[in-house]
Each structure stands twice: as C-alpha cells, then as structure tokens.
C-alpha cells in the first residue's frame, strides 16, 4: 500500500522538476532568440564605448558559448543561486525576495475575495429561481470579465480614493492600502468563476442525488450548499492553474496603477530591459508555484470527491 503511493509522489515530484526545467529552458531560448544582444541591454541608453563593452563582457562572462552559459545557469540554479541582475546590479534572490511578500499578499487576498464573491454570486443565482437576478448577475460578470484590469483600478481609485477619500493610493498604510488593489484583481476572477460555478451548480441540481436529498425534506439552501456546491466545485478547482496565471498577469498591471511594490513591477522592468537573470528567475519561480498549485489542486480533488479516494 505504502509503496505505490510513494512511487506516485516520486513520479509527481519528477514531473514537477521536468516542468521547471522545461519552463526555464524555454525562457532561456526565447531570451536568447530575442533581438538585440545582452551587452546592448546592459549598456542601455548610457555611454557606449568599446572599453565599456569589454568590461561588461568580462564582468558577466558573456564571451562563453551560449550552451556553456546555459549549463552554467542550470548548475547554479540547482545550487539555489539565481545570479545577479544586469540592470539593478544586485543578487536576483534579494531583488525577488523583497518583492515576493507584497505580491503574495495581494494575490492570496485577491484569490480569496474572488472565490468568495464567485460562490456568493453563483449560489444566489443558480437553479431556476429569481431569473431577473440571474440575468443581472451574468450581465455584471460579463462586464467584469471583459473590462481591462487597468480601467477597473482607475475607476475604483477615482471613486473610493480620490473622491471619497476612503482608501489611500497604496503606500505603507497596511490593510487599507490593500483593499482597492485586491478588489481590482478579484473582480475579473470572480466574474469568470461565478459563470463556471453557476453552470456546474445548474447541472448538479438536475442530478438524481439532489432529488433524493430534496425528497428527504432537506432545505433548499442545504441542498445547494452541502450537496450541489461540493459537486460543482470540481470544475472550478481545475481552473486553479489558470487562476494563478491571471493573478500574476493582473498583478503586473495592478501594482503599476496603485504604485504598489511587488514582483509585477520587477518583471515588467526586467522584460523591457532584457534583464535575463531576473526574467529567468521569475519564470522559474512561476513554474514552481504552478507545479505546487496544480499538485494541491489534485489533492483537493481527493478531498472534495470521495470516489477518487477509493480508487
């Protein structure tokens, strides 16, 4: 019994490592293939003489073949060394480390808010009750999904910060400064999740087990929350990976609009400046989180669906 489970865990870990390696290598190749060379990127708009170029090449060991640099990068990555940023002239681990908490706090709060809001919207409007509310809700969700995060952020800021003065434009004012960015990021997520969850709830409510529950005299709210919701959460969990991608992409914009610290700003600057060590580290980190999130999603399946536990 233990043996197969151990093997399954090992296999999962192996797959995770392969995903990490593939993501990092793909990013490496993409950056290598991108136009312009690394020395140009480091020189930027500054003074540019043969002497400066030679010094940069020596400092970053750029004169070795790309394959050697790549293998060296992988070796250092395996040792936990993320290298030094070309642009910021600092260790990448330090650059990312000081921004990570800010982005994680924002992403986790937004994900929590988004999921709660989606569940509230979907359970309030699933089934065939209150069709007007259902129409209003799906209309709102469509608007949220299709409005750019940037615009949502500016509108929320203008109303709640600039006009009503309820919240600050980010800054170190703690929880108050987190509200608007988190809501900005949560709204599109909630919009899409609510639609998927409502569909799934509708289907679950047509299943025989719901009829059985109802015939036992279970209250409608209990049918919805205890039986149908559990069933309907499965497709939603599948979206965990997508959710994570959205959060990271959205954070880039939200951090920019609200002047918040975070990985988004660092990533944007690194991509536009072709700061290879930082871009690679962000890709590797994202892949790692993606692997963890998907593994967690698989485990969550086991919790939500008892049938999977038996097999």
């Amino acid at each position: 019994m233990r043996q197969p489970r151990l093997r399954a865990v090992t296999r999962r870990l192996g797959t995770g490592l392969v995903v990490l390696w593939a993501a990092t290598s793909a990013a490496y190749l993409a950056l290598l293939a991108a136009p312009g060379d690394t020395v140009d990127a480091i020189v930027g708009d500054g003074a540019d003489t043969p002497q400066i170029r030679a010094e940069i090449i020596t400092e970053w060991a750029l004169d070795r073949p790309a394959a050697v640099q790549y293998l060296d990068y992988l070796r250092r990555l395996a040792e936990g060394d993320l290298g030094r940023s070309y642009l910021l002239q600092r260790p990448v681990a330090e650059v990312i480390g000081e921004q990570l908490t800010a982005t994680l706090t924002l992403a986790v709060t937004a994900a929590g808010l988004g999921v709660l809001l989606a569940i509230a919207l979907a359970t309030a409007t699933a089934g065939h009750r209150r069709p007007w509310l259902r129409r209003a809700s799906s209309g709102l969700e469509l608007v949220l999904v299709s409005t750019p995060t940037f615009l949502i952020g500016i509108v929320l800021l203008t109303v709640f910060s600039f006009r009503l003065g309820l919240f600050p434009v980010a800054g170190d004012q703690g929880v108050a400064a987190l509200v608007l960015p988190a809501v900005t990021l949560a709204l599109p997520i909630a919009g899409l999740l609510a639609q998927i969850l409502r569909d799934a709830l509708d289907r679950a409510l047509d299943e025989p087990f719901v009829l059985t529950a109802r015939s036992r005299g279970t209250r409608e709210s209990a049918v919805l929350l205890r039986h149908a919701l559990r069933h309907a959460l499965l497709p939603t969990i599948t979206l965990a990976g997508w959710l994570f991608g959205t959060l990271l992409g959205g954070a880039v914009i939200v951090e920019q609009v609200f002047g918040r610290p975070g990985l988004g700003q660092v990533t944007l600057a690194a991509v536009t400046g072709k700061d290879m060590p930082v871009v690679l580290a962000v890709v590797t980190l994202s892949a790692a989180v993606y692997v963890v999130v998907n593994t967690a999603a698989d485990l969550a399946y086991l919790l939500v669906d008892p049938r999977l536990r038996r097999s």
């Binding site: 312009g36 140009d40 010094e55 910021l88 500016i154 006009r163 914009i253």
Partner: protein, 547 residues
C-alpha cells in the same frame, strides 16, 4: 509592453470622471498663495514617475533621478541661474594656461552624514573608486577619459592632471556622477552599486527608508550648512522630512494630488495640464531641459538621406509649429537647433532659418530625381518608393512621441509624398536595427547640463550614439576644440559654428521641440524650483510648507 494602450485608457477614465474630481476640489478652502514666509518644519509627500535603477550617484543615469540624488549627495561645483559654473563643496578652482591641470580648493568643516570629514582624501577616494575597473565603466570611459592623475596637495586642495585639455571635466565635477560619497560607505556599503540607506553623503537630507517599488523617505540633516549659491536659503533644510512615492501612471499621480494625498507631483502630460491650471488650489510650473533638443536625426550613410537635398526636403515638408500645436496643445516649445534653446550654447540665429515650405520641399525632391509618383501618391525613383524608416524603442517613448511621429508621417506624405514608416518596438529590436543600419531616422533628446557632452555622443564620428553616421572632420574638429576651450565666449562661438555646420549647412537633423519638466504642487507648498541649467526639478532643500 501595454503602456500606450494603458495611456489611452487613462484618458478615457479621466474624462469620464473629470467632473467629479474638479468638483471635489472647489468645496475646500479658497485659494491661498504659497504662504508668504518660509518656515521650518513639517513633512511632504511627492509622487514621482520613475523609480531610480540605482541610488548611487556615481552610477546615476536617469535624468528623472536628479531630484533625489541632490537630497543626499553634493558635488564640488554647481551651476548658477545664468548657467555659469560656481563652487559648491569646493571654494574655487584654478587651471594652468595649457588647460591640463586643475587645482580645486575645498570647503572647510563639511562632514558626511556618517561623521566622516570631507577633505581632499575623500575626493581622491571618490575619483579612484570611479576609475576602478567594473565599478562605473561609463564614467571612467567618457567623463574621465582625459584624466591622468589625482593628487592630494593638502587636506583642502586636490589637483587633477589631464592628458588633454578638457573643459568638460568641470561639468563632471558638477554632475551627480562626480558627487561625493563618504569614503567609509565606498568601503563598507552592503550593496554599493545599488546605493541606498547605507551610502552617506554631505547633502541636506539623509535617506532613512527605502521600500523598493513603493517609496523613499528622507529626514533632515540637522548639521547641514553649505548650500550651493543657486539655493534660496542657507542652513538646514526647512522640512523635517520628505517622502517620494513611485506612482507610474500620470492619472493616478494627478488624482493623488487633487485629493490631497500628495502635495507635489512631477511628470504632467500636456493633455492633463488643464486639470491642474483650472484648480485654484494647485499650480503648475514648467521648465525647459538643457542639453540637446528632441530631434529627428537623418542617417546619412544610406539612400535617400545620403543626399543633402532630400534631408532639406524632409525638413521643409513638415510645418513643425502646426504639428506641435496639434499634438501638445501649445505646451511645447519649438526647437530650431540640435541644442536646446535654454542652453547658454544655443545659437539664436537659427530661429526661423528653415522649414515648413512645401513648395521648396517638392522642388528639392524633383532636383534629387524623385520626380515620379506611384498610385498612392508617394514619390518614386528607379522603381523605389521614397520610404524612410523611424525606429522607436518603446521604453524611451515619452511625451507622446509616438503620436508626434504619426503627425509628422501624415505631414510629409501630404506635402511632399515622403513615406515615413514608424516602428514602435522593444529595445532589443531597436538596437538591432541601429547596429545593422536598418533605419533612416533616429529620434533622440538628451538632458546633459553641458550640451557639449550630448553633442560628443551624437555628432562626433566616434560618438557612442552617432546614428546620423556622419563622419565629417570639420564637425569632429569643432567638437574637440569646444571640449578643450575654457573661455566661455570662445566656446559659445565654436558651438555656434558647429550648429551652423550641422543644422544649416548639412541638415543632419530636424529639431522638433525642447523637452520640459513639469511640477504640479499644492499652493501651500513654497520654494518649488528647478535646477538651473539642467532644467529638471531641484532637490527638496528649499521646499517649505505654508500655513
């Protein structure tokens, strides 16, 4: 990069909510002038557009970071309101007749904020550090190119010996790269290249908090008593402290200002200036940058701009005034030369000397053999269309230069049948186009305090960004003599000759506008000013809060 798209959305969101924002500001206290008398105390918050890549002044490369650098660090020399070099941490300097030796005397009783005394040894330590391989290669290779030795004569005297006469060494001594960092920091700072709280300077403020991506906080240096002559007071700064918040979106900066969350902002786009000027509690001040004007440089190494007549024709085909008016709503100052009109080296004779004559443009193109037109109305010669490519690197597009390019594109097509193709690309792609000579137009402006430094990069045959690819012994000679001539009148006449050569005779470029910086501030804030010569916002030293 989604930035241009985001800007458009900003405008949409702002217009939609404009009424609300301005309505909000009128129910507050009536407009008061910045309280009449400077007074000490209080703290301010200033929202700035750009987070500096580094806080180490030696590695400074962003014009937008100057206002931060001068809070903590100071240089030996400075510029006064007339653009003349004046002493700062130095008390004076002398040069030998051959221009190869500068003796600089230093102020007494100046200390770095970590307690280290400022003296000749400190100055030498700074310059030695700058010449250390791998530390600041750009400074070592450009500004210190002609520096031979640095010698401590006594505690208050330093002597710089040059290999060639070079007056731009004085501009270096007045620049952030030449700013004095505590020798103790140079040895012990945890992250010297990134700068930060453990880098001590002699300035009126001390950086005591840096939250990357968010803000910088400075507190007053209570013992400060060596302000430069360009400042409006002496002694310690008025403010107890100042916070700089990084707010990259202009709509957010303006919203934060109108709602009173910040008291000052910089970087106000032309389209939003009305929002500030219409608000009685706010004021807007602007100043032209020095250095080089924003211009289109023509690549003379390729057809069609290897032909002087075509270069002239392109300039005549654009009515610059009309284009600027359409794009910047009367807020842009037209440039007539490669040098910004605010620079002391600018040659006024160039005003109105060329441009905007479509008849001349067409005659010149006819003479150059571009006589036929294709079905789309573009001129053609030997089966080739008169196409010129402008390559813009997205990270450097500011002041709506992408929109300006479209306006010029329309103008040259309509008036002369020239096909201007614009590509807005990432920095790597742009660099590749420049390296492989796949462009005909290159756009650029530089904010150097001494225009000579900018021109060396742009026009010298050996210049780092000589993208006109001009190789003209006369231009090189003028640039070299300009760099070696100390007498201001002589220098001005050399650079006047240079401007005649480059702009009038050779038509190497189309000057467009003089870049400017803007500050919008609450009327309760006093002492808001720009740095003389550079034209960028000054440090927080003179700022004060009225009642």
């Amino acid at each position: 990069m989604p930035a241009p798209h985001l800007r458009t959305l900003t405008a949409v969101a702002l217009v939609a909510l404009l009424a609300g924002v301005t309505g909000c500001s009128t129910d507050a206290a009536p407009a008061s002038d910045a309280a009449s008398q400077p007074r000490s105390g209080g703290t301010l918050t200033w929202a700035i557009e750009t987070e500096p890549i580094t806080l180490n002044p030696h590695l400074y490369a962003q014009a937008k970071a100057r206002l931060l650098v001068w809070n903590t660090f100071e240089s030996l020399l400075s510029y006064d309101q007339q653009g003349k070099l004046v002493p700062w941490l130095a008390t004076g300097w002398q040069t030998t007749p051959d221009g190869r030796s500068y003796t600089v005397t230093l102020r007494d009783k100046v200390t770095f904020s970590d307690g280290t005394p400022f003296d000749a040894t400190a100055v030498k330590a700074n310059i030695d550090k700058l010449r250390e391989p791998g530390y600041a290669p750009a400074v070592a290779a450009v500004q210190l190119r002609n520096l031979d030795t640095v010698e401590v004569v006594d505690a208050r005297t330093v002597r710089l010996t040059l290999t060639n006469p070079d007056v731009l060494i004085l501009d270096f001594l007045a620049s952030p790269q030449g700013a004095q960092v505590s020798p103790k920091s140079l040895r012990e700072a945890k992250n010297l290249k990134a700068g930060g709280v453990d880098l001590a300077g002699t300035g009126p403020f001390v950086l005591d908090r840096y939250v990357p991506g968010q803000e910088l906080h400075y507190k007053r240096n209570p013992g400060y008593d060596w302000a430069p002559p360009s400042a409006t007071h002496t002694g310690p700064a008025y403010l107890d402290g100042i916070t700089y918040r990084f707010l990259k979106e202009s709509a957010v900066r303006i919203g934060a200002l109108t709602s009173g969350q910040v008291q000052l902002i910089e970087g106000v786009p032309a389209t939003d200036q009305q929002l500030i000027t219409a608000n009685p509690r706010l004021r807007l001040i602007r100043q032209l940058n020095s250095g080089s004007a924003y211009s289109y440089y023509f690549n003379t190494s390729r057809t069609p701009f290897d032909d002087l007549r075509v270069r002239r024709a392109f300039r005549e085909a654009v009515d610059v005034d009309t284009v600027l008016k359409a794009v910047y709503r009367d807020t842009a100052v037209r440039a007539w030369s490669v040098i910004s009109p605010s620079s002391p080296l600018y040659d006024k004779r160039l005003d109105g000397s060329y441009g905007g004559n479509a008849i001349t443009a067409n005659a010149l193109l006819d003479q150059a053999g571009w006589t036929r037109r294709d079905a789309d109305g573009y001129r053609v010669k030997d089966g080739r269309r008169l196409t010129v490519r402008l390559v813009q690197a997205a990270p450097f597009v500011r002041d709506r230069r992408d929109v300006l390019a479209q306006a010029i594109q329309a103008a040259v097509k309509q008036s002369a049948g020239i096909d201007l193709k614009i590509s807005l690309v990432d920095q790597g792609t742009a660099q590749e186009a420049f390296d492989t000579n796949q462009y005909e137009v290159f756009d650029n402006s530089r904010a150097d305090t001494d225009a000579g430094a900018a021109l060396n990069l742009l026009l010298h045959s050996q210049g780092g960004i000589n993208r006109t690819r001009v190789n003209d012994p006369r231009i090189d000679q003028l640039l070299d003599t300009g760099q070696a001539t100390a007498d201001p009148a002589g220098r001005a006449s050399i650079y006047a000759d240079l401007q005649q050569r480059v702009v009038v005779d050779q038509a190497l470029l189309l000057p467009l506008y003089a870049p400017a910086d803007q500050i919008a501030a609450s009327t309760t804030v006093g002492g808001v000013r720009f740095e003389p010569t550079a034209g960028v916002p000054a440090s927080a030293y003179d700022l004060w809060i009225g009642n």
